[in-house]
């Protein structure tokens, strides 16, 4: 989300045929009259000149927009003007909620103050009210970082909209901050813009510590300087009327405030609160309900603006579940008929197992918390070998530890589902933050040649469905299947269509019919490498599985021919799978100037950015890959229809102009690396490791810059 990497200021500018133009976006509700944006050529090739002359045009466009807005007599969306000055603009309050297409609200606090729970409930209620929702958690790596520290910010972003939401969006419209210091790390991340409304806890102004009062005053001045619209609110003081320690409970008060501000259904919020605290006493539930209503009343009496985000009936999903990616993966495990998940605690994967520990019994499953990552996958492999295909869920460091076992599962052809919820690496890295850094480890981690199926879920819905697919693939192809998700999908809450589950997705009962003794345990089909496997209990199928090189009879075989044949057969299975796959669909025109290639959770931001760029007349499309091993077919053909191919990834690559790197020894982003090897095409990449998801705006800038460079090079 940060602007820092963009060279020079090109706000409101774009280039067409070497000439600079000004462009100002039109709020959604005025587009029927004004079009998508207002644009005019500045008749210059010189960027400096364009920078100087643009403001006049921008002002003109803005006043044009304001005029139309005024004629319509209402407010519009996009939060372009702050709700704070609404009263002075139209001179009245209590005018009813302002209808907006979407809003992004953040809640940030010190760790342990429950900001995430507040945001999750906000997302849940919004989803249940029919809105599109996307949440992103802001998690410090420590459980209890020092209070009021800039890096200790703990919180959540909730993007709510009338349409289906696929990503976290750009800058927030509103933020509720429990103290002023925690806002700084978000400001550094570029989370806010001029006009973002800050609802700020004001207790710090009266803090007994002079240093704190000073910090607060300084920050307040600084925020105003930055163009944030700060409303100081006595949240603590209000909560003290109900609880003695508002550190626990302030979040529910804030939820109540937000319920009023966003016109949310408080009955629904009340139900969800009761659900969360169902294991606590009724008193606890009542206190939290009291806080909710107190917050609601406080906002009603003290905050004079209100928004509504309505969803048109045609945009509503028929049947909705509101879940995060880890819950989706857990439900996927159950829907796949998997009965055993063996895991070891690791962030950000563990919450999937937490969820399963809660509900797995409903489908007869069991979560085994092993003594370590290796034992977890070993246990899963044992269960799989015995006919109950199991799943192990982990994150990057766990994958590193499991590598030898994954190699064993490949070598001995044991079906297994492995879910890797990626975080920042290497080593312990960024435990709570997003990165797409495990791709190459997933593809090539094991020593020797260890071909396996690698999938990447790009949406919360895919976190569910890919597990179902993975179990099936694992058994049909007698192989481990690795599903890559990430920290963003893991904690992101979205309202998705309820999957129409069927028992056909379940694993069939264990086959215990006799095995034909004349059929070897690895009866490889020459064309596909596929074979049926005997399962313990099958009379006549007794064989000794081994991780050593072996022949069709599973006999240890060190001879050249057997080793080559085993390798060939295991690799051929991937070719057989690839032959069944379809080429990926191109988002946008099938040909053009620039093709963005992505994988994983960046899909929403990439496609939103591509849509905006296309609406602005740019010749850009995107393609998103789900199968990474084997790769989906037809990539070379798709790529050849574009002038330039660029991957956008959340992992490390050398910037093209990095010192000493140069184009010859530049280290590419991971998908780019794989695609360059696969297609022998000069595929470029743009990748960063910011520790947070990419916003559509950031990707939009990358698209603009890339197209400019392409023009410049001509």
């Amino acid at each position: 989300m940060s602007d820092s990497h963009v060279e020079g200021d090109t706000r409101y500018l774009f280039k067409r045929d070497k000439t600079w133009w000004v462009k100002v976006a039109v709020p959604r509700t005025l587009r029927d009259e004004l079009g998508y944006d207002l644009r005019r050529s500045l008749h210059t090739h010189d960027l400096e000149a364009a920078r100087a002359t643009r403001w006049e045009v921008i002002e003109e466009f803005r006043s044009e927009i304001e005029k139309v807005k005024a004629l319509r007599g209402g407010e519009t969306d996009e939060g372009k003007q702050s709700p704070g000055n609404r009263e002075s603009r139209n001179g009245k309050s209590q005018a009813g909620p302002i209808a907006v297409d979407q809003h992004i609200v953040e809640i940030v606090s010190d760790s342990g103050e429950g900001a995430q729970k507040c945001g999750q409930l906000m997302g849940l209620v919004s989803g249940k009210m029919g809105n599109g929702v996307w949440t992103v958690e802001i998690i410090p790596a420590e459980i209890q970082p020092p209070a009021r520290s800039q890096q200790g910010a703990s919180g959540i972003r909730v993007r709510m909209g009338s349409k289906y939401m696929t990503n976290m969006g750009n800058e927030a419209d509103m933020v509720v901050a429990f103290n002023e210091q925690v806002l700084y790390s978000r400001i550094q991340n570029g989370a806010y813009r001029e006009g973002t409304v800050v609802l700020l806890e004001n207790m710090w102004a009266e803090d007994p510590e002079p240093a704190v009062r000073e910090q607060y005053a300084e920050a307040l001045a600084d925020f105003k300087q930055r163009g944030l619209v700060v409303h100081e609110l006595p949240i603590q003081q209000e909560c003290l009327k109900i609880v003695s320690d508002p550190r626990k409970g302030k979040n529910m008060f804030v939820l109540g405030m937000l319920c009023h501000i966003y016109d949310r259904d408080t009955t629904m919020a009340k139900e969800e609160i009761a659900k969360i605290f169902r294991k606590k006493s009724d008193t606890v539930i009542k206190i939290n309900h009291d806080l909710l209503y107190a917050g609601y009343a406080f906002a009603r009496d003290n905050i004079d603006y209100q928004f509504s985000i309505t969803t048109a009936p045609e945009d509503r999903l028929d049947s909705v579940v509101v879940i995060n990616g880890n819950q989706a993966a857990g439900l996927g495990v159950m829907a796949a008929g998997i009965e055993m998940v063996a895991m070891y605690p690791i962030t950000p994967a563990t919450s999937a197992s937490h969820y399963l520990a809660e509900d797995f019994h409903l489908t007869g499953g069991f979560v085994h918390q092993a003594e370590d990552e290796i034992a977890a996958i070993g246990f899963a492999i044992g269960s799989s070998y015995a006919g109950k295909t199991a799943c192990t869920i982990t994150s990057g460091p766990g994958i590193a530890l499991k590598t030898e076992m994954i190699g064993l599962a490949v070598m001995a052809e044991i079906p297994l589902v492995i879910i890797d919820v990626q975080r920042g690496g290497p080593a312990t890295g960024l435990p709570t933050k997003i990165e797409q850094g495990d791709l190459l480890a997933a593809l090539f981690g094991a020593p020797g040649d260890a071909p396996k199926v690698v999938l990447a879920a790009s949406t919360i819905s895919e976190c569910f469905h890919f597990v179902v697919m993975a179990r099936k693939l694992a058994e049909s192809f007698r192989t481990p299947v690795l599903i890559l998700t990430d920290a963003n999908l893991a904690t992101g809450v979205q309202a998705i269509e309820r999957p129409d589950v069927t028992d056909e997705w379940f694993a069939p009962p264990i086959d215990q019919s006799p095995w034909d003794r004349n059929v070897p345990p690895y009866d490889w089909d020459e064309k596909t490498g596929l074979s049926e496997r005997p399962i313990p209990g099958m009379r006549g199928g007794e064989y000794i599985l081994t991780g050593l090189a072996h022949n069709r009879n599973s006999k240890i075989a060190y001879d050249t021919r057997s080793n080559q044949e085993g390798m060939d057969m295991r690799s051929r299975k991937l070719a057989a799978l690839a032959a069944t796959l379809k080429a990926p669909e191109v988002h946008g025109d099938p040909e053009g100037d620039l093709l963005i290639v992505g994988w994983g959770s960046t899909i929403g931001a990439i496609e939103e950015a591509v849509d905006l760029a296309r609406a602005a007349g740019k010749n850009v499309s995107s393609v998103h890959l789900r199968f990474l091993s084997p790769l989906e077919p037809g990539l070379k053909e798709i790529f050849s229809r574009f002038r330039k191919i660029k991957t956008i990834e959340l992992n490390y690559s050398d910037a093209p102009d990095a010192p000493l790197s140069g184009i010859e020894n530049r280290r590419y982003a991971q998908l780019a690396y794989a695609l360059r090897a696969h297609t022998l095409m000069d595929i470029d990449c743009w990748s960063k490791v910011p520790g947070h998801p990419l916003s559509p705006a950031t990707i939009g800038r990358v698209i603009d810059e890339t197209l400019e460079q392409m023009e410049g090079a001509e």
Binding site: G127, K128, V320, V321, V322, I323, Q327, L331, M334, G337, E339, M340, A342, D359, H361, L362, T363, G364, G365, F366, H368, A370, E371, D372, A375, A376, G378, F379, A380, I381, G382, S383, S384, Y385, A386, G387, K388, A390, E404, M405, R498, P499, V501, T502, D503, P534, P536, G537, R539, G540, G541, E542, Y543, I544, L545, T546, G547, L548, K555, I556
Partner: protein
């Protein structure tokens, strides 16, 4: 044996298994290796218990000992170094109908697999775990193992092992929720058979440390004990192991030991001068994790589908 019962009635069985039914490939252990005798005992116990070969799984790690599955005519899993126990636990977790055996060694179990050893003992799933402890890494050619005695020269410590050996019995006896611990030597057929039979019959994890001869690399370890049986102490009890007088004559030191007494077991285990033989500790009532991990196994597809819909309902509007 052939279905003939004590009252002379004849039971006709559909299948009857002989020793041959459990014999897999020809063992490739060295001549004089103690593993041969252990394998013979395993075959005999399988035959006596009439285990269905297709319902029997031998799991191992890596090392000389871990070749055992290849010499069984059952299902087998010859996996990774140190990792036999997690795999065996996984096999058992959702397949209570399978009879699971584990063959491991002193390097495999006490060194690279030490974490799994500790935890598998605590899980107490129904496994028969045989540790072939020859006090040396054999397959990789004579490196010091955790149980190599002090001063025994190896390829990694040519002037002799530097540290006193680990005592696997005291370690195991310190783990919560253990249920069966025994120690035997590979060279006494009757004791070997009796203890392995008891270990197999026990419901829970039975841990049998087998002091096993490696005549190729560390002949002295086994030879000293064989030549000086006074350094061993035979533990017998009606609840533990009972052997006839021929065995007792071979081990001049013996004692009555009630295997439900863990404190006495620990005392015998700690004595470096008289290594205990027989069953040290036995608790048939320790909680078994395999009974917990199999929860829900009996559910029908309809019940699972209903459960899945209920789970989805938790997230629905």
């Amino acid at each position: 044996m052939f279905g003939l019962k004590g009252d002379w009635s004849l039971e006709v069985k559909e299948r009857y298994f002989t020793l041959e039914d459990y014999c897999g490939a020809e063992p490739r252990w060295c001549t004089g290796c103690g593993d041969h005798g252990i394998l013979a005992a395993v075959h005999r116990v399988c035959r006596d218990a009439q285990l269905k070969p297709e319902k029997t799984v031998a799991v191992s790690g890596i090392g000389c000992s871990s070749r055992l599955p290849h010499y069984m005519n059952t299902y087998g899993f010859h996996g990774l170094h140190g990792r036999a126990l997690p795999v065996a636990c996984g096999v058992k977790s959702r397949r209570p109908d399978l009879d699971v055996w584990v063959a491991t060694g002193d390097g495999d179990c006490f060194s690279i697999g030490a974490a799994h050893w500790i935890h598998a003992m605590r899980y107490n799933m129904d496994l028969t775990v045989l540790v072939f402890d020859n006090g040396i890494y054999g397959l990789t050619k004579k490196q010091t193992s955790p149980t190599t005695p002090l001063d025994v020269p190896t390829n990694t410590h040519p002037s002799g092992a530097l540290l006193p050996p680990m005592n696997p019995l005291t370690v195991t006896l310190g783990i919560t929720n253990i249920s069966f611990i025994a120690q035997i030597v590979d060279w006494n057929a009757q004791l070997r058979h009796e203890v392995i039979k008891k270990a197999h019959a026990h419901k829970g994890t039975s841990f049998v440390r087998i002091i096993q001869r490696c005549p190729v690399y560390v002949e002295s370890i086994g030879k000293t004990l064989q030549d000086e049986p006074a350094r061993l102490k035979l533990l017998t009890h009606e609840k533990g192991v009972q052997v006839d007088d021929t065995v007792k004559r071979q081990f001049p030191n013996h004692a009555e030991h009630d295997p439900s007494d863990i404190h006495a077991a620990r005392e015998f285990a700690e004595n470096p001068d008289e290594l205990p033989l027989g069953i040290l500790y036995l608790n048939p009532d320790a909680p078994r994790y395999d009974l917990m991990s199999a929860a829900g196994l009996e559910m029908t597809a309809e019940e699972r589908l209903a459960g899945l819909n209920e789970a989805l309902d938790h997230f629905a509007i």
